[in-house]
């Protein structure tokens, strides 16, 4: 009696909550990544509304200078470390094992650890609001601004920030190890590297970046922590330390992190565009090599954030920054020619993917502008930079996240999202986004510095700031149809079936939501579009072939 083992697929007697909290299933963990990230997205969004409300008019209406600094610091911290990076890891978690035909990730329990470190980090950050002074040194936490000294960051708030970001970094490192081992070791028979979906390639390159760059951030933050708490002398010039050293070590992580924040989003839209254009991705191998090139070049451009320090070799970093536009340009052509003469289906995922293409293009071009040293000297720390980074991270990554959400929601839940509400959300978000961030280009050119709570009413910045604030609230409004859409769909959405989009990749070959361990049978994999081959008959006899037991469960 006691020797009878419970079959892995059998229902447990535990409650649903217990099952989710203790799960090591990559799909449930992926979904929890998404839920957790969206919670912090909304918190970060509220903080952004605080920033925009204060800036709507000259003068201080709502908050003090100190609170304003806390608002934009925590806005960026939540959005970068607890929304964009984790949510892309969440999509990777859900999709990568399905994409390569694996039963789970290589280390499921470590995967659960990676997930649960994130809400802990988020709670520590929220806790810092109750320490008297929340972190207010910007998300970059430059020294000496972030040192424990008058006019710096006094009190435990900044320490909580450091610990939280180290936890997020640890989560990223463990996640990267997991992704890399999964991708290198657990691909289904026939799934060669050059038959992997582009999404998997982007997660692979992202993981390499995370693996090599994140520990350097950890070392920077630990040195800052030692400076603040144990009288260390790394970054504080008073004790013989070097403030520029912090910037170097920080950006050595944080520039590759920019690609960590956008490459998986590029992967998402590279899955969406072929499916909704009814064509294969144009130039698969060029795309793969461009992704790898972005990853490699990403390690040689960090000091373009530091041109005005006078402590970096300008021609080298300027040249490398321009160079990185080349593989990015290759990708733009991949995407455009994927759609060229395709049979476009203007569903919500495609709309968001188009939003990504157009907005990321603007973000790329205004970024290449700033790579020119004289331009950068003029625009450094102005609203131009704020416009640029939001066109890349919001116009790029967040639109990509939305495309992925509408595309994979049916697979995650078994229910379709409403197309009507999705289109309303897209229109509101697209308009709100451009209203908010396009004027910031002009504000930056007109000399408005970033990270200020107040500005002169005679500087000529009033109208554009009001416009940006209106845009900010429009973005917030665009979240209402999204939440309503998800709520309605979960209660009474149209059942999705296995493959509602007539897609190409393996996740659509299993049920929605997929069972534990994902697949009973796999179609024969002879290209990067196994389901297309299957649907069009070329692989039909092989489709019912049972995968040998050793191949489906042994690794």
């Amino acid at each position: 009696m006691a020797t009878t083992a419970l079959h892995p697929a059998a229902r447990t007697y535990r409650s649903t909550l217990y099952e989710w909290v203790t799960t090591t299933d990559h799909k449930k963990i992926g979904v929890m990544y998404l839920i957790n990230s969206f919670l912090f997205f909304f918190i970060g969004g509220l903080l952004a509304l605080g920033v925009r409300s204060e800036l709507a008019q000259p003068g201080l209406q709502f908050v003090t200078d100190q609170v304003y600094n806390e608002l934009f610091t925590m806005h960026a911290t939540f959005m970068i470390f607890l929304f964009i990076i984790p949510i892309l890891a969440g999509f990777g978690n859900f999709i990568v094992p399905l994409h390569i035909g694996a039963p789970d990730v290589a280390f499921p329990r470590i995967n659960a650890l990676s997930l649960w470190l994130l809400p802990m980090a988020g709670l520590l950050l929220l806790l810092s609001f109750f320490t008297g002074q929340a972190p207010a040194a910007g998300w970059t936490s430059y020294s000496p601004l972030a040192q424990d000294r008058p006019l710096g960051a006094v009190g435990p708030g900044q320490d909580l920030w450091i610990v939280a970001v180290v936890l997020v970094g640890t989560s990223s490192i463990l996640g990267a190890v997991n992704f890399l081992v999964t991708i290198f070791k657990m691909r289904a028979p026939g799934m060669t590297l050059f038959r992997m979906p582009i999404m998997v390639w982007t997660v692979l390159v992202t993981s390499v970046l995370g693996l090599l760059a994140t520990p350097v951030l950890t070392s920077a933050l630990i040195m800052l922590f030692i400076d603040r708490n144990y009288g260390g002398a790394f970054f504080d010039p008073r004790n013989g330390g070097d403030a520029i050293l912090y910037q170097n070590v920080f950006w050595f992580y944080s520039h590759p992190a920019v690609y960590i924040m956008v490459l998986p989003a590029m992967g998402i839209i590279s899955e969406v565009l072929p499916v909704f254009s009814r064509k294969p991705l144009f130039g698969y191998k060029a795309f793969v090599f461009a992704t790898a090139a972005i990853g490699a070049l990403g390690f040689s451009v960090w000091a373009h954030h530091m041109f005005t320090t006078g402590a970096v070799y300008l021609p080298f970093f300027s040249l490398m920054t321009f160079l990185i536009a080349v593989p990015t340009g290759v990708k733009m052509f991949n995407w455009i020619f994927t759609m060229w003469r395709g049979k476009l289906r203007l569903s919500t995922p495609l709309l968001f993917a188009l939003g990504f293409l157009s907005m990321f293009l603007i973000g790329g071009i205004n970024g290449a502008f700033s790579a020119a040293v004289p331009v950068d000297f003029a625009l450094h720390d102005t609203y131009w930079v704020v416009a640029h980074l939001h066109y890349v991270l919001f116009g790029g990554s967040v639109f990509g996240v939305m495309a992925g959400l509408y595309y994979w929601f049916p697979k995650m839940t078994g229910r379709m999202l409403s197309e009507g509400l999705g289109k309303i959300q897209f229109v509101l978000m697209f308009i709100g986004f451009n209203l908010t961030f396009f004027p910031m280009h002009q504000l930056g050119l007109a000399g408005m510095p970033r990270r200020i709570a107040d500005y002169s009413s005679t500087a000529g910045w009033n109208d554009l700031n009001l416009l940006a604030t209106i845009g900010g609230f429009t973005i917030a409004a665009s979240m209402v149809p999204l939440l309503w859409n998800i709520f309605v769909s979960l209660r009474s959405g149209k059942p999705a079936g296995d493959d509602p989009w007539e897609a190409n990749t393996l996740e659509w070959a299993t049920s929605s939501p997929p069972p534990p361990y994902n697949f009973d049978h796999l179609p024969e994999i002879r290209s990067e579009r196994p389901l297309f081959d299957l649907r069009h008959g070329h692989a039909a006899p092989a489709a019912t072939a049972v995968v040998p037991q050793s191949a489906s469960t042994s690794h």
């Binding site: 070791k185 040195m223 009288g231 013989g240 070097d242 469960t553 690794h555």
Partner: protein
């Protein structure tokens, strides 16, 4: 309990027991995962080393003057650090002997060598603790300028990694005593030995940097 032919262990039937092994004969998931994790650890130490070289390059002379005593900082190799270094290098050898032993299926030699490695790891930590106490007694502390900060941060994080590695060795020793490793199943031993070698290599670099690399005189002297 037949030993002449391969008896199936529970691991051969478990749906998850097989996950750690590669039937196609490649590197196992566990070992690859450890190698990747060590890569990230290398980058972590690279950040600290970069900081060390940076403050050293910025300083007018190295070692700098201790503000409290008015003399240049000085570190002694004897009596503690030199022997500790020799011991740690030896432990890399014993660790590798343990791996070779379990690959042959020789559990006795495996346990003996892992036990010695574990003991050396603990000894190293004790010697480091004594050394820290002596240094604090001489007024060289974490807060005494760039020299103290970099010295204690670099050696301290190395010590933390020795502590982590000794814990892993302890787990391997415990599991080995429970008979969980065999010539076929010993991924954990391979992975932990890699980590221990990494910790050893970091110490050799640190020792060369902090104790052997000549200092620089103030400009014009």
């Amino acid at each position: 309990m037949a030993t002449d032919s391969h008896a199936l262990t529970p691991e051969d039937h478990s749906p998850v027991g097989g996950l750690a092994h590669d039937e196609r004969g490649g590197i196992s998931n566990v070992v690859l995962g450890m190698l990747l994790f060590i890569t990230s650890e290398v980058m972590f130490f690279a950040g600290l080393f970069a900081a060390y070289f940076n403050v050293r390059a910025n300083a007018p002379q190295w070692p700098p003057i201790n503000a409290e005593t008015g003399e240049a900082f000085h570190l002694e190799i004897l009596p503690l650090v030199g022997p500790a270094t020799v011991l740690l290098i030896l432990s890399s050898f014993t660790c590798q002997f343990a791996v070779w032993a379990i690959r042959r299926g020789d559990r006795t030699a495996f346990l003996r060598n892992i036990g010695v490695t574990f003991a050396i790891g603990v000894t190293f930590l004790i010697m480091q603790a004594i050394d820290y106490t002596l240094l604090y007694g001489e007024g060289i502390t974490l807060g005494s300028g760039t020299f103290g900060t970099t010295y204690f941060t670099l050696t301290g994080f190395h010590g933390a990694h020795v502590f982590g590695g000794a814990n892993m060795l302890g787990v391997v020793l415990y599991r080995g005593l429970a008979g969980q490793f065999s010539a076929r199943h010993h991924d954990a031993v391979e992975a932990v030995s890699l980590y221990w070698h990494f910790v050893d290599v970091v110490w050799i670099l640190l020792f060369s940097l902090l104790y052997l690399l000549p200092g620089k005189s103030p400009a014009g002297v």
